[in-house]
Symmetry: C2
């Protein structure tokens, strides 16, 4: 159930069988399923639990009055949607699905219990949180300084590396179940412009295995050549 989260955390901390067992148990209760393009929690709602993505993609986003939408981050399997929401009265942003999603709702008590009794888990969750905020900083740089081509390239590299961390890549390929509108909302570009630039990334990617987008995604390491395909070929 929680294999993606465990795999990710083990990049930071070695977990004992008991640690893993505890995580598995926390992820087993209160599993919920959402369809594609549904809100998991909306701006203004009061957060009741931490959500652990088990399967599917989601995103954090904010919408302006006139309809403009900014995707603030993506969630892939193994990701936790803010381990600290409890402190806040209400959400200042929404979390919505991209694909159908299966997630585990982890209550405040279960989480506190977990961190009280398993110090390695606590440490790993700290790491995970700090990496998440580092990615957030990188998005700020991405949106503020990089050209359209660089933005898309950087985002694709980030997502590939994150998926590799949880074991969801296959060689140099991975699923990317994201529409061009969503890529545009994440990169601050128009949906129409995404294609011309994304095509550019694909072309340059074929020529230059190292990619031209500088890799600052923190603890992920070097950005290898990324071949993205919409769907993995059926076996």
């Amino acid at each position: 159930m929680a294999q993606h989260l465990i795999r990710k955390l083990e990049h930071f901390v070695r977990l004992s069988p008991e640690d893993k067992q505890a995580l598995e148990e926390a992820a087993r209760r209160n599993v919920r399923v959402f369809g594609a393009h549904q809100d998991i929690i909306s701006e203004g709602d009061s957060p009741e639990h931490v959500n652990l993505i088990l399967e599917g993609w989601a995103c954090r986003y904010k919408q302006l009055e006139d309809g403009r939408r900014q995707i603030i981050s993506f969630f892939v399997p193994g990701d936790l949607c803010d381990p600290h929401v409890f402190v806040l009265r209400e959400m200042d942003h929404s979390i919505g699905t991209i694909t159908p999603v299966r997630l585990a709702e982890i209550s405040r008590d279960v989480l506190l219990n977990l961190t009280d009794r398993y110090p390695r888990i606590t440490k790993a969750l700290w790491w995970e949180m700090l990496v998440t905020t580092a990615i957030q900083r990188e998005w700020t740089v991405n949106l503020g300084q990089r050209t359209a081509l660089e933005r898309i390239g950087h985002l694709l590299c980030e997502l590939f590396i994150r998926l590799r961390t949880v074991g969801l890549t296959e060689g140099d390929s991975c699923l990317l179940p994201v529409t061009q509108v969503e890529l545009g909302d994440a990169t601050g570009l128009s949906n129409v412009h995404v294609i011309s630039r994304a095509a550019g990334v694909a072309e340059q990617g074929a020529d230059r295995p190292e990619g031209q987008a500088p890799d600052h995604s923190g603890p992920g390491g070097a950005s290898a050549g990324v071949a993205v395909q919409r769907e993995l070929p059926a076996p």
Copy 2:
């Protein structure tokens, strides 16, 4: 010494005299002074302590290989530069001064001691951290979706409200010791473009007391009319 931090935290949690005393003491040791435009800590360095800004402005920034620079956030008096840096081996970004800065270096031990013994301080620091990340999210929206005019307007409102929270405004005025290059680095705009847009904000601000920039800075409240002047008139 720590009056700005205390004033800010009291917006979230009521602090007892002992709480305040403890904060004052933590801020009294290891005070350091920096000149303008100096690095407090650089990318790649290993963080040794948490920095509490006592006086002056600083910023968190990241620099690309070709010289492009993105300011990721501003620090004003009362701000803590990441209470959790200890978990990380090395900085993925730099923190530099804008004006001359006086800050208190708070060691890991002192901070842990503080949070162990004063639960209200712990709670307040959690709040402070969550508000900081909410501001970070808002910057993502700012850079991704808003026009130059809106970006500058929103940033000015954010800074004004943050300064008001720590008591550094005077009526509708506040100091803004930031050059246009720095405003540009923070908003993803060119320094040349900042003036035409900033002038626009000033004009519209004069006409519309409510300001045209939507206020999402979280717990700050409504964005009143902001009159910004470079220097406060001498008394």
